[in-house]
């Protein structure tokens, strides 16, 4: 008895110790990033590892936030992450629900068409041409419409809807609900955990909008946050390395300091990270419990 207790104690000790080390290893880069963003660049050059800055400074943040475009770019990003996410959920959910119901006509054909987009990507030039010809260049919608949904998410969500029994739906229809009503009142509320999870995927995706914005947005006032931050952190010493003969063209612009980059990382990640705690509780909810008896 006594011996066993000692053994479990040791096991727990080692176990906790290991997990603690792994936990610290994952926390440390985040900690270091945040700390560096508050450090004076000169101090950063002189010390090799900074765990606690001698002097705290907000200079890096001041520099980034003083950009006149900061407010517009963050509102574009917020617009994308909210409106974009809503629309994506609606379209993906609607599509996935439709193809998960066996009574849908041409269901197979629709599924194959969805799968084709999953297997083949046409590349950048056709996409650019479509966006331009529809007249979406320099419009926020060019950042939402092309990425409204993806075959992958439709398939994942379909898998989720497949697990909702038909009998539940029939019950609602007997009570006089139509398809839209069933989808809106029964299916969506039941799928809340899935919607939250997918919503988070979409929101992070929209928040990180970068490449499409580079391609489709010429007007700086329409830049999302990530593009703006990237442009502020351009290293002028690497500009124009495409020139022949290894003769690098160098611009009169100071090299962004490491602390500035860290501050940009913090600004770019913190807002979207703040969303997680609010959605946490929805993940845990068991939605299907007691809804129907088979």
């Amino acid at each position: 008895m006594h011996q066993k207790g000692w053994k479990t104690g040791l096991f727990g000790f080692v176990n906790n110790g290991l997990l603690l080390i792994i936990g610290l290893a994952t926390i440390f880069p985040i900690y270091y990033t945040v700390i560096l963003s508050f450090t004076d660049p000169v101090e950063y050059y002189q010390r090799s590892l900074i765990l606690w800055p001698r002097d705290w400074t907000l200079d890096a943040y001041k520099h980034l936030l003083s950009n006149g475009l900061f407010v517009t770019s963050i509102s574009i990003s917020v617009f994308l992450a909210t409106v974009g996410t809503m629309l994506s959920l609606l379209v993906t959910g609607g599509m996935a629900y439709a193809v998960s119901r066996k009574r849908l006509r041409f269901r197979k054909a629709i599924m194959i068409m969805v799968l084709i987009t999953f297997l083949f990507t046409p590349g950048l030039v056709p996409l650019y041409l479509v966006v331009r010809n529809v007249g979406l260049i320099d419009s926020v919608w060019s950042l939402i419409l092309p990425s409204l949904t993806s075959a992958w998410y439709v398939l994942l969500m379909k898998g989720f809807f497949d697990s909702i029994p038909d009998s539940l739906e029939e019950a609602a229809m007997i009570d006089g609900s139509n398809d839209i009503g069933v989808f809106w009142r029964i299916i969506l509320p039941l799928s809340l955990p899935a919607l939250v999870a997918f919503g988070l995927f979409f929101a992070v995706g929209y928040w990180n909008t970068y490449f499409n914005a580079l391609m489709f947005i010429n007007d700086q006032k329409m830049w999302p946050l990530q593009v703006l931050l990237q442009n502020m952190l351009v290293d002028p010493t690497t500009m124009g390395s495409g020139s022949g003969g290894g003769f690098a063209f160098q611009v009169n612009r100071p090299v962004p300091t490491e602390t500035l980059k860290m501050a940009a990382v913090v600004i770019a990640t913190v807002p979207i990270m703040l969303v997680y705690p609010f959605l946490q509780k929805h993940f845990a909810k068991g939605a299907m419990v007691g809804s129907v008896k088979e």
Binding site: P41, V42, Y45, Q46, N67, G68, L69, L87, G94, A98, L104, R105, V125, Y128, L129, R132, V134, G135, L136, I137, D138, S139, V140, W141, S142, L145, M173, D179, I180, F183, L214, M215, N218, Q220, V227, Q230, N231, V234, D235, P236, T237, T238, M239, G240, G242, S243, G244, G245, G246, F247, A248, F249, Q250, V251, N252, R253, P254, V255, T257, E258
Partner: protein, 516 residues
Amino acid sequence: MEKMDARPSKSFLKMSGVLLLASSLLLSACGSRGGSPSSGSESGTDSSEPTSITIQTLNYATEFIDNTNPLWKELEKRTNTKLNITWLSPSTAEEKINVMLASGDLPEVTFVETMQNPQLQKMLKQGVFWDLTPFLKDYPNLNREELKEMWEITKVDGKNIVIPRYYPSYGGGVFPMIRKDWLDALQLETPKTLDEFHNVLKAFKEQDPNGNGQADEIPYAANPSALAYIYNIFNETQGAWKLQPDNTLSPIITSDASREAMLWIKQAYDEGLFPKDFAIMKFSQVMDTMRSAKAGVGGMSMNHAWVTGKAVKDVDPKADLMPLAYLENANGVKYTPSGSPYYGVYLIPKKVPEAKVKKILEFFDYGYSQEGNEMLTYGIEGVHYNLENGKKVATPQAVTDKTGDGNLNNMIHLVSDDMAINAVGMPDEVYERNVEIVTERKTVKVPNPSGELYSEAYNKYYPEISKKVEDMRVMVITGKEPVESYDKLIETIKSDPKMKEITEEISKAYQDKFVK
């Protein structure tokens, strides 16, 4: 029962109807939001009406200006144009330009960063752009003496299709920038040869130039790619190719001189003259090391005597960064970096009417005139700068209107060495010394046979080959591989059919262009 069967299909119709409606609403919403694509193709023959010109070009500033900017307006007024400029951020321009070229969606004036762009090369052959040769003679400022060379070397099959953007040949490029105050503290001469340079680095390590009693100095802040010029010093040529007496080019990557250059770097590495994580440092980390004021030498273009020099001074007030003029190899042959007299080119697609082409050339002619050229960089006299003792002193308005910060001054560069050797706020003595050094650099003529050549095989195969060699060099320098493995690799590359194909293509391109 029957009712039950009919119901789903009816509601399916309803549902799809709603979806259709929703999607059409969405589409119409975006249609109204997105502006129509620019259509500035009304011909500009009427001399009183301003001609509208759509231009796509790079912008190096953090905030781009638009047509409400006073300098922009002044430029429109003086050239009688209506400018519609699409700015591209330089770090990402290449991808976007490639997509635009591939889609044929080109503004009336299109900027491409390098003539070696494969897509551009194809289009030049297809005749997508105006041949400007017959028009050029009418524009005196485009024929300025300083610009002659750039027009000459950018010819495609003897025709001037591109409008090159001027950039000085000397003053840029990665070359040692040395801590003059450290040299003075140790009473050392400015190094002129590679041997002297090596000795200076050693002295920086051993003799405590910063005088703090600790051996904390890093003689040379560098990573392998910042030392590429060492190979050029040994090979006595610019670029990756060396001209042979029979008018063929040979790759310097496999030459014996490159082997010696590698061993020179290896010796310096073994003596601890580079940072300890030399092999894995990124360029920004090299610059950080420089700015920590602990390094004696860094590789930079001449304007960094102040751009970076000031950052070093913030840490160590005595610091003084001085570019080297040149370095001599063991054969007594001098080397200094020099490049093409232009950077990037403008193109006018054929869909632009001839009258407008002339108008566009007129615009560039103004941009390269003394008056227009200075205005684009310094702004308007009395508003953005005042003349004091013959020098232009910027007013606060210059900052407000974003003058000279990478906006309009990068559309057409100032025709002056200042592009590469001056910087905002550079003190007179640093500037004057830079002028002296760049004048000295100009006496050193290092051939650059491959600078303007294009080869498809080179684009396709060379990056992979050079990556292999560069990786091996680093292994040898850091002592992880013996020199014999390097020799073996070079032997296989010499007999590689791909390398032969590249060499033949480049040599042929050289002969087509320069040997008549």
